[in-house]
């Protein structure tokens, strides 16, 4: 009995003695950020973290690239951002804009951290130092390029910042972002990135990707001279058009073919690394999904317009895969099954998939046909119209269309614009091409576009947080 009492009396002393450390508990299944950025792998992991943000963001990229334009539409829907984007009534509270803003800045913050930490890293330890810098800068440039094209002026952040600094981060002009971030980053990246990857690294940003993106940046800024130079460099890197256009969308084949330059990479059956495009762009038609072996439902999200359908010349080999306007499909028994809602679909994203919204379809950010058309455009603007037609005709020949010859510079410009529309249809280029060429308002005022809608409204919360119109104004027209 005495012993029991003694033990009971001692117990509290035992626990009290270790109470100092008792409530100091560190995470077990994750780790504090301070503990990493020491090894080569740490930096590589952080770079992958930035790529992964693109994976999220580009699931929605079609809403900016295609749905906003005259190529695609969305049926009237309740409370769905895509519908509001399509009819130009999206407001500053919309979750799509907010998530877009955050996704890109999250990527930028990740890249900034890598670049800040790697500056002092010993390259004998961090053996991929040069490539890490190249990838981080490429990704940061791509993020800023998308940001300025979607929102216009945005805060320029190139180092890790605190919340307090965040409140002072006002909107920097598009011009400055191009000159101080996008162009210098891509110029550096093109020298640090390898030309090609093999095996497990395929899919990372390459020298060609950096140069092609830089070419697009120059073209967007109407710096046709630099664009021509840079895009010419891309033509020397060994890219070539696939002989058969439809092979671009045959997902039984490897997507990293001779025409591929940079994709956002998706893969099925890896536990959530697939893309949503296959489901999102198909109609609500169970028979169609069953026919193609697609799990889940159709989203009816991204229906090509009749205008896009009409833009194709007869016998264009690209038409059937870009827009199917038959309003139904022929099933396995040869019967025509009509869709009930939508009348057009794009077949560019169709592949079988075993899990809903887990498609292996990549998003093509840069492919060689785009480069050739940009190069043609730059040449034409620089007065080299016949050279331009050469490159334009490469595209047309593959599509089974007759070559152009003897066109004026102006006619060539129109033909290039039109060729871009049909060659790159439903791949997220149209809206930015319309903006770049100053034709957006003319094409879309009937759909509800107002002249100021060349940029989207900035998320209201960002405006309200900084709460200083001189530092962080809303885009004009939206306030």
């Amino acid at each position: 009995m005495k012993k029991i009492i003694f033990m009971i009396a001692l117990l509290p002393l035992f626990t009290l003695s270790c109470s100092k450390h008792f409530i100091d508990i560190k995470p077990i299944s994750t780790v504090s950020v301070d503990a990493v950025f020491k090894t080569d792998k740490d930096f590589q992991d952080a770079v992958i973290g930035s790529y992964s943000m693109l994976r999220n963001q580009y699931q929605n990229f079609w809403m900016f690239g295609d749905l906003r334009s005259d190529d695609s539409w969305k049926e009237v829907s309740k409370n769905i951002s895509s519908y509001y984007v399509d009819v130009f009534i999206i407001d500053a509270n919309d979750a799509l804009l907010k998530s877009t803003w955050i996704n890109y800045y999250n990527l930028i913050a990740g890249a900034n951290t890598v670049l800040a930490k790697i500056a002092t890293a010993d390259s004998t330890v961090v053996t991929n130092k040069s490539r890490d810098i190249g990838e981080a800068k490429f990704l940061r440039a791509l993020a800023y390029f998308d940001l300025v094209r979607i929102f216009g002026n945005v805060p320029e952040v190139t180092t890790p910042i605190t919340i307090a600094q965040g409140y002072k981060a006002g909107r920097t002009s598009v011009e400055k972002i191009y000159n101080e971030v996008i162009i210098p980053d891509l110029l550096d990246a093109q020298n640090k990135l390898p030309k090609k990857y093999t095996g497990a690294d395929v899919g990372r940003a390459t020298q060609g990707a950096a140069k092609a993106l830089l070419g697009k940046v120059y073209l967007t800024r109407k710096d046709f001279a630099d664009a021509e130079t840079k895009l010419q460099e891309v033509t020397t890197l060994g890219y070539s058009l696939l002989p058969n256009y439809n092979d671009l969308f045959d997902y039984s084949k490897d997507e990293h073919h001779s025409e591929y330059i940079f994709d956002i990479e998706y893969q099925e059956n890896l536990g959530g690394l697939g893309s949503v495009y296959t489901n999102s762009f198909l109609p609500l038609s169970a028979p169609l999904l069953t026919f193609y072996g697609i799990a889940g439902q159709g989203g009816e999200e991204n229906n090509p317009t009749q205008a896009l359908l009409a833009a194709f010349e007869p016998n264009d080999k690209r038409k059937a895969v870009t827009v199917d306007g038959s309003g139904g499909f022929i099933d396995g028994s040869g019967n025509f099954v009509k869709f009930l809602q939508c009348h057009t679909i794009t077949k560019k994203y169709i592949t079988s998939e075993s899990v809903a919204s887990d498609s292996k379809v990549n998003w093509k950010v840069l492919r060689y046909a785009d480069v050739l058309l940009m190069y043609a455009e730059a040449l034409n603007e620089n007065g080299k119209t016949s050279d331009a037609l050469n490159y334009l005709n490469q595209i047309r020949t593959r599509a089974g269309l007759p070559s152009y010859s003897g066109l004026t510079q102006d006619d060539t410009r129109e033909k290039i614009y039109k060729e871009r529309r049909v060659e790159l249809g439903m791949e997220g280029h149209r809206w930015f091409d319309l903006l770049r060429t100053g034709r957006a308002y003319d094409s879309l005022q009937a759909s509800g576009m107002k002249p100021y809608m060349t940029v989207f409204t900035v998320p209201l919360s960002e405006v309200q947080l900084v709460n200083d119109p001189s530092l962080f104004p809303q885009n004009s027209g939206y306030n």
């Binding site: 409530i23 992964s52 943000m53 009237v76 900034n112 965040g166 009930l340 075993s354 919360s461 309200q464």
Partner: protein
């Protein structure tokens, strides 16, 4: 005839009135007494000093003091003897017994009447000689073996009564050795014992809630009369017979200030419990549970039969002793312990049938087909298409299946809901034994529960065992052991994912009646192919073919030792452990009806271990009129959770549901470990002077692993005062007041449910695809916040407890104001930092409310008793502070903004429909010029504002405004208890008034589209200007126009309801009868649960909460419907 009787028309002369008339008069008396229960107002305590007084003089005096009327005749008085009395504050019965002790008369009390009778002569007639008197001695004790002083022991049928002494002992001489002794004590259930043995140790059980009840408070107990805080109790009497699977369901409608929402009818589903409003925005609003001293958040495994009491600590003076976990209220649950005495073995069982309580009224085949057809017609008209030909030939064609129904080709009209709902059995078996000696007492129980759900293939089985042992090792040392292993086996419905595609209820609700669940051959109909306007997994196939199981093994136990250092000072050590192991499995086979998606299976497991150590010193001392109790303690608790999950969709076939079949091709998986710890010091002093003035002060200090490095410790003080004014001398003469007390308290408590590692900047592990394979990487997950700390609540409570007319009426009123500050918010920060939010302690919410409890004893006679307990509560919630800019927080259909309650419904206000083009011309119009602009027959919304803050004739998101409140004006509960002899009837009800519900399931089928099944209240819709229907239902339209699918009042339902929770009738068989069968007692009961529901709500169950997030209250979408049930039960005592 100068007695009272001569003025009394009801002068009775026994024998002079025919017996039937006597009966009638008695009935009349009864009724008049029932109606005038509170007409008189007298104390029942009598003080008389009389020497050699005539009996009628005593009668007059007694009447004066008590209001009781005597009924007697002159003849009786003449026979009476003079009386000597010296009574001080004696009970009526004691006084009368003394008066009649030496009289040839006796009396009976019939409520407010004392009927004097002549003693029965028969007894005195020649009889066999009586056996000699026997002296019986014994001891009367209460629960926990406290001696009961002043308990009365009466030889039944005589006036032979004695009171027990200070130590509970008694000695009574009875006339016959087999006499029955009636033992009674205020606040306890009377017992009858046969005077067979000469020594008795009798333990009395506590009766209903009463002022002398012991109330469990944090780390101790108090007498209810000594409470300074706001604490409500529910005892085992309220829990037994309910046939509930969870003990917290017993709180439904029974406790003021506690809102119990039965949000799901799934077997074993937890109700939502909110104590005194909503005090947190993002750190959880569930109360803390303390089971036998063990703080926990899981009470799913407890056997309701084991519960002795549930005490709800509501105000901060009561909860502050639980510090950083107290602000959502604390529910203390104690289980039964053995009592010294003969072993009591009991077997309890019930069997019942459950059916769905309420079904929404949905369209039949023909109504639905017409609605859908007209929807297509309007769609075509809107875009200028010709609609003269057959619908299937329109440019936007109607599906053939719709036309088939309209033209009578398809006459099928089957409600899919009926296909997935069933009459489900529920049953429970419980065996318990308790007893022991003075030194060792035990309570052992075992339970098996088997409840089927009313949706096919949902089921809960529970196997639980409990052993509670108390042992007195020496005169100073007592040890106690509570152990409760249990095993739950749950077949849950496959997780509802928010779209009607996967959920069984949603699927069945939305499937058209003309599409049967099974085809002619008994195969599942592929709803994907048939209802090609929408994609629904055949709900019957989901119910039958998808496996979703969860098995929970739990051990909850603690051991404690109490050492009495001095009589006044006790030292207590408690060590407790909680091991929870949950294993879940899910398998969805590949079937054509699921569009041949590959089979997918998930296997997950969680092991959560939690231990607590607690050391307390208790001091209790009385100095004259001063009484002091003190508590000092130290406690530490630590939890570790290990969770993992694996999933794959690479099954070769449907034959093997486990992951063994996927050849190691796991397509997803994770495992993680978390820990938290809490270290606390606590102290409390209770002081009272003369049972009149009370003071309580407590203080707790919590150190938590969850708080940021700069804010590790927190202090939680509380103070409370109470004044029992009834015991003041100037109140002594206010006889109608039995007791009265005023309470006031202030306290601070907290909420530490802020997540485990939120103060650190940690990594998120992510992946990307490179080389067509997954590659791992990492991202910073959040910004660091070393200042992260608990949410604080400060609460003031003012209360009044009063009881009247000898406890016939008692009343408790509480008013509280609480202010919750430092609320954890994911504050928006500029995204340029890379993060859009940062977790900060910044928000503030206030609640204030009233709670009223009224308990009455409506009728109380020897055989019949009727009591009513009624409670009604109300609270107002107001957000005072949000993020740095005060930005409102928007969730799907709710808004949280400063100056308003958390999560008000937010959307467009409706204003009927545009019946004519003239009305349309007046507007306001949705999206003018747009393809989906408002048209005639569409809904009209209210133009609240515009982009410039002024109404602009256009309906847009600028017109979003608060459209309703998810909070009731008040909520209430009532329990009526009737007992007559061995019959017992309890009726419990609850209700809420004035809240709205956002019915999201209506948003599917009621959006005007007709692609999913709609509600019948839409049948009288607008058809044309000449036939506008009921003038408020818009036209159907396959391509909705006029913003009809926007968030708005059109989907708000009235959420007020009144539900009879249970009607329980029971009967105890006569003891003589059951003893012949070798049993001690036998009791039957019938329980009808949820028999009636009165509400205007359009769906299954108005007790809703789609998500537990406090930001989105009052939403409902296809929740598991609530059952009603009929249960037959049996309690056998051996």
């Amino acid at each position: 005839m100068r007695s009272i009787a001569c003025r009394n028309p009801l002068r009775l002369r026994r024998g002079a009135i025919p017996s039937f008339l006597y009966l009638k008069l008695t009935l009349l008396l009864w009724m008049s007494v029932c109606l005038n229960t509170f007409a008189g107002s007298y104390a029942q305590n009598i003080t008389i000093s009389a020497k050699d007084a005539p009996l009628d003089k005593i009668f007059r005096e007694v009447k004066k003091q008590t209001g009781y009327t005597f009924i007697y005749t002159e003849a009786m008085l003449r026979k009476s003897n003079r009386v000597n009395l010296n009574l001080n504050n004696a009970s009526l019965q004691q006084a009368l017994d003394l008066c009649f002790r030496d009289q040839p008369l006796t009396y009976t009390i019939l409520n407010k009447m004392i009927i004097v009778k002549e003693k029965e002569k028969m007894v005195t007639l020649a009889q066999p000689p009586l056996p000699p008197p026997v002296t019986v001695t014994g001891k009367i004790m209460g629960p926990g073996n406290e001696p009961l002083a002043g308990a009365s022991v009466t030889e039944k049928g005589t006036n032979n009564t004695i009171l027990t002494k200070e130590d509970g002992s008694f000695s009574i001489t009875v006339n016959r050795p087999n006499s029955l002794l009636v033992i009674s004590y205020v606040g306890f259930i009377s017992r009858e014992m046969r005077a067979g043995s000469d020594v008795f140790n009798i333990t009395l059980e506590r009766a209903n809630v009463n002022l002398n009840d012991v109330v469990v408070v944090g780390y101790g107990t108090q007498k209810r009369k000594d409470l300074t805080g706001s604490v409500a109790s529910v005892g085992s009497r309220d829990i037994k017979d309910l046939a509930v699977t969870r003990v917290d369901q017993a709180l439904s409608g029974r406790v003021a200030g506690v809102q119990v929402k039965t949000v799901s009818g799934q077997p074993g589903a937890a109700p939502d419990i909110r104590i005194r409003g909503v005090g947190s925005i993002s750190a959880g609003v569930d109360p803390l549970y303390v089971v036998d001293g063990f703080p926990t958040d899981n009470i799913q495994t407890l056997n309701p039969n084991d519960i002795e009491s549930m005490d709800v600590l509501k105000d901060a003076s009561a909860t502050a002793i639980y510090g950083s976990r107290g602000s959502n209220g604390v529910i203390i649950i104690n289980t039964k312990h053995g009592r010294a005495g003969k072993s009591q073995l009991s077997f309890d069982t019930y069997y019942g049938w459950q059916k769905v309580l309420r079904l929404p009224k949905m369209m039949n085949s023909l109504q639905q087909a017409q609605y859908t057809y007209d929807g297509y017609k309007n769609n075509n008209l809107d875009v200028g298409n010709d609609v003269s030909g057959p619908g299937t030939a329109w440019k936007i064609p109607v599906a053939q299946q719709v036309v088939d129904v309209l033209d009578g080709t398809n006459k099928i009209d089957q409600d899919a809901l009926k296909g997935i709902l069933q009459t489900a059995p529920t049953n429970e078996y419980s065996l318990s034994a308790s007893g022991g000696t003075d030194n060792i007492r035990y309570m052992l129980s075992g339970e098996f529960l088997d409840q089927d759900g009313i949706v096919l293939n949902s089921n809960l089985k529970r196997y639980s065992v409990r052993a509670n042992i108390d042992a007195k090792l020496s005169s100073r040392l007592t040890v106690r052991l509570n152990m409760s292993p249990s095993f739950n086996d749950l077949h849950a419905l496959p997780t509802y994912t928010g779209s009607y595609a996967g959920g069984i209820i949603g699927g069945a609700l939305n499937t058209f009646n003309w599409v049967p669940l099974l085809d002619g051959k008994g195969n599942y109909t592929n709803e994907h192919g048939r209802v090609d306007l929408s994609e629904i997994d055949n709900p019957l196939a989901v119910a039958r073919e998808v496996q979703s199981r969860q098995k929970t093994m739990r051990f909850l136990g603690n051991a404690s030792a109490e050492y009495r250092i001095w009589d006044e000072l006790k030292f207590n050590v408690m060590i407790g452990g909680n091991v929870l192991s949950v294993k879940s499995g899910y398998f969805k086979p590949q079937l054509p009806v699921f569009t041949s998606i590959p089979a997918v299976g998930t296997d997950s497991a969680a092991l959560i271990t939690n231990w607590v150590a607690e050391y307390t010193l208790n001091y209790n001392k009385r100095f004259g009129k001063h009484q002091v109790t003190g508590l000092a303690g130290y406690t530490a608790q630590r939890e570790r959770g290990e969770v993992n999950s694996l999933t794959s969709n690479r099954y070769p076939n449907n034959l093997v549901p486990t992951l063994s079949a996927v050849s190691g091709l796991i397509t997803g998986g994770s495992s993680s470990v978390y820990e938290w710890s809490l270290i606390s010091y606590l102290g409390r002093i209770n002081y009272n002077y003369d049972g009149r003035y009370y003071l309580t002060a407590s203080l707790r200090s919590d150190g938590s692993s969850r708080f940021g490095g700069n804010n590790k410790y927190a202090m939680f003080p509380s103070f409370a005062l109470a004044w029992r004014f009834k015991d003041e001398s100037f109140m002594k003469n206010i006889d109608f007041l039995t007791d009265g007390k005023l309470r006031a308290s202030y306290g601070r408590s907290g909420n530490n449910n802020i997540g485990n590692y939120q103060s650190f900047a940690t990594l998120n592990y992510v992946k990307y695809v490179l080389g067509n394979a997954a590659i791992g990487g990492s991202n910073q997950a959040n910004l660091e916040n070393p200042f992260l700390t608990w949410e604080k609540q400060q609460q003031v409570n003012i209360g009044l407890d009063a009881s009247f007319f000898n406890n016939r009426l008692s009343l408790t009123v509480d008013y509280f104001r609480s202010s919750n500050t430092n609320l954890l918010l994911n504050v928006n920060v500029p995204s340029a930092t890379g993060f859009s939010t940062s977790l900060q302690n910044i928000g503030e919410v206030r609640n204030n409310g009233w709670e009223f409890v009224v308990s009455t004893v409506n009728v109380k006679s020897n055989k019949f008793k009727w009591t009513t307990d009624f409670n009604i509560s109300t609270y107002r919630n107001k957000v005072v502070r949000l993020g740095p800019q005060g930005d409102p927080i928007y969730t799907a259909n709710n808004v949280t903004q400063i100056g308003q309650p958390i999560g008000m419904f937010y959307g467009l206000k409706t204003d009927g429909i545009f019946k004519t083009s003239a009305e349309l011309a007046k507007g306001p119009i949705w999206n003018p010029g747009g393809a989906d602009r408002s048209r005639v027959g569409d809904r009209r919304f209210v133009d609240v504002s515009g982009p410039n803050g002024k109404p602009d004739g256009v309906i847009s998101s600028a017109d979003y405004t608060i459209i309703g409140s998810p909070y009731p004006d008040f909520y209430y509960g009532m329990t009526n208890h009737f007992s007559y002899a061995s019959f017992d009837l309890t009726v419990n009800l609850q209700g809420t008034q004035g809240n709205k519900i956002y019915n999201l399931s209506r948003n599917d089928g009621n959006s005007g589209r007709g692609r999913l099944r709609g509600y019948t209240f839409n049948n009288n819709y607008w058809k044309s200007e000449a036939d506008p229907g009921d003038g408020k239902t818009p036209r159907p339209n396959n391509a909705p126009t006029g913003g009809t699918r926007s968030i708005g009042q059109q989907f708000l339902d009235d959420g007020s309801f009144l539900r009879i929770n249970s009607i329980i009738a029971s009967y105890i068989l006569p003891a003589q009868m059951v003893q012949r069968w070798g049993l001690n007692s036998l009791r039957f009961y019938v329980n009808v649960t949820n028999p009636f529901l009165f509400t205007k709500y359009t769906s299954f169950n108005p007790d809703v909460n789609l998500v537990t997030d406090p930001l989105s209250p009052g939403n409902e979408q296809n929740a598991y419907p609530l059952p009603k049930s009929l249960v037959l039960g049996l309690n056998v005592g051996f």
